[in-house]
Amino acid sequence: MNPLPLKWRISLLLSLVLLAVISTISIVAYLKVERSLVDNIDQTIRAMADAIRVELNESKGKNELETEVRAITGSTKYGRSIRYRVWRHDQQADLTASDPPDSKYGLWLRALPRDSAPEVGRPAFFDVGERREGFRAIWMHCATTQGHVNVVVAQPTHQVFQEMQRFLRMLLILGASMVAGSAVLGILIVLWAIRPIGRSAERLRRITRMDLGSEDLHDIRVPYELRPFLNAVADMLARMDKVFQQQERFTANASHELRTPLALAKSTLQATRSRDRDLQEYRTAIDETLKDLDRMDRLINQMLVLARMDETDGMSQVTDLSLDGLLLELAETFHVRASQAGGNVVCGNLAPTRVRGNEGQLVQLFSNLLDNAIKHGPPGGTVRVTLEHADRACAVCVHDEGGNIPAEALPHLFERFYRVDSSRNRATGGAGLGLTIAHEITSRHGGKIEISSSQAEGTRVTVRLPRLSE
């Protein structure tokens, strides 16, 4: 599923937060303003009621009182919109009232429940009716010279309602425009903030295989926060470059190794075929070609072994096996080969050892080592195999009397296709994969392989493997 683009998400988030803040502020402001408007009305009607009470104390005649009260309640601002009623507490009849008893307002002024009359000196404020046609009223119960008198003054609140409507409208417009503004701002901020990413991407797109290694991306101007990201990308490019180079080197080496015997075979056959030869020449040509094919065959097998090991990380077909037995058998096999050239393979001390591993791979490992020892040792020399215990590990040592590996070559011996003699001349056979395979197998078995070589001591390859306790 495609997630919402970042700009929309940020803009939405910003708008929501702002909406919440603005709403809270607006609600509080709205209530406050309404309260203060109502307070204002309360003060006005309270003042009117007080004025009426003063008039009552002066015991004026009914008409006079009516005129006074009319004067008090009539205002230039609200006109004759104020309703009032003044009556003796113990009588139904009005001393004075704004509306006749049978009119609409007269009816609700008289419908006020008698029992709920407030105490003297503690006037009660209350709301009457719906908002649009509602009133804010004060009911004052006062003791005057004419006895206990009730005064009710009510002022219509539609004015307040209109004020509040206007205020609300303003709040809504203001709030909405702020939210909308923040949404737009959010989008702009995101677009602005991700611009360096776009620039970097543009730059990364232009990187080709050729400039992988030389690219450090330091010339791209990005904000401080993005630098670690670009550094990581640059690191990745460098690693990719290394992998590519290894791959290319491997391909180049592999093709060289395969092409050389192929060229040999082809040249032999073509040179022989170019005219009629005697039988012996044909035989020689065929023998030589067969040798070339053997060489290719060996190389392809080694490359397949490596490729298969590259494909799988773990080990398969693991069994408990006797390492001394395996070595003894191999030594005998290789002794037969070595003795053809007057050399021999002997076993020194072979401590009984059991290890856990893949038998085929271990045979391959020690075959490679013995093969190297016979090939690189002096003709007719002795190859010695020993197996010793060391703590929880065991050490297999294959020693030959050669010792002609230069010191500077030692660290590279396990690299693919590495050969001490850079000529890659195949006089001794092998393409430089034998030790690579040996190294790979050893590390797969949790072991270590090392080589030391000197004229005096000969060449010694030591393989350390974890062993099983007895």
């Binding site: 060289h256 092409r259 060229a263 040999l264 082809k266 040249s267 195949r426």
Partner: protein, 222 residues
């Protein structure tokens, strides 16, 4: 024509040498390592050097650079298993004249060698005509007055070399250096023997002796 092969796969070098001798009548020397190869390439006037790149002791490109920096114009054909365009471009940039990747076709190699030598002698036409004599250096067919003549290898070698430099006086030393490889036994009067043999076949005027200087095929000098 004398060719040097610098190639560490000795059998491959021998195969090439064999074919060049049999099919092109070239004198061929072989070197199997870089240092030796450089020494040989610098010390003898080869008509062509066939050069492998991955060599013991000294890389083929180094040899090529040495040759060129010392002003040698010997055509160089690089023969290597490195088959990438980069490698080819690098070789050509170092001053090689042609490039073949292993495995290669022997016929193609021989044809390229001949073409390189012809170019070096400024004879783009493989057929060299001199009076009644026609020498096809590509097929090694020689005809005299319209009739095909079969020449022994050494005589052909001499004739071809003189024909390549027709109109020029060629010294005896030059002839010996271009006709024989190191392995061949050299007799001091061998050039005279072959020249007189050629004169018998094609008449006394084809190859003239310039006293104290050498021989000339065709041309007017004398």
């Amino acid at each position: 024509m004398r060719v040097l092969i610098v190639e560490d796969e000795e059998r491959l070098a021998r195969n090439i040498a064999r074919v060049l001798k049999e099919q092109a009548s070239f004198a061929v020397d072989i070197s199997t390592d870089g240092e030796d190869g450089r020494h040989m390439a610098l010390s003898s006037p080869y008509d062509l050097v066939i050069l492998d790149l991955m060599l013991p002791k000294l890389n083929g490109l180094e040899i090529l650079r040495d040759l060129r920096s010392k002003g040698r114009r010997t055509p160089v054909l690089i023969l290597t298993a490195l088959g990438k365009t980069d490698d080819i471009v690098r070789g050509l940039d170092f001053g090689c004249d042609d490039y073949l990747t292993k495995p290669f076709d022997m016929g193609e190699l021989v044809a390229r060698c001949k073409a390189l030598i012809r170019r070096a002698y400024d004879r783009p036409d493989p057929v060299i005509a001199q009076g009644d004599l026609r020498i096809n250096t590509a097929s090694r067919a020689v005809s005299f007055r319209g009739k095909t003549v079969f020449l022994p290898a050494m005589e052909y070698r001499l004739l071809e070399y003189l024909a390549m430099r027709a109109g020029e006086v060629v010294s005896k030393t030059d002839i010996i250096e271009h006709l024989y490889d190191y392995a061949a036994e050299r007799f001091s009067n061998v050039v005279e023997v072959y020249v007189s043999s050629l004169r018998k076949r094609f008449g006394p005027d084809l190859i003239r002796t310039v006293k104290g200087q050498g021989y000339i095929l065709g041309g007017t000098a004398g």
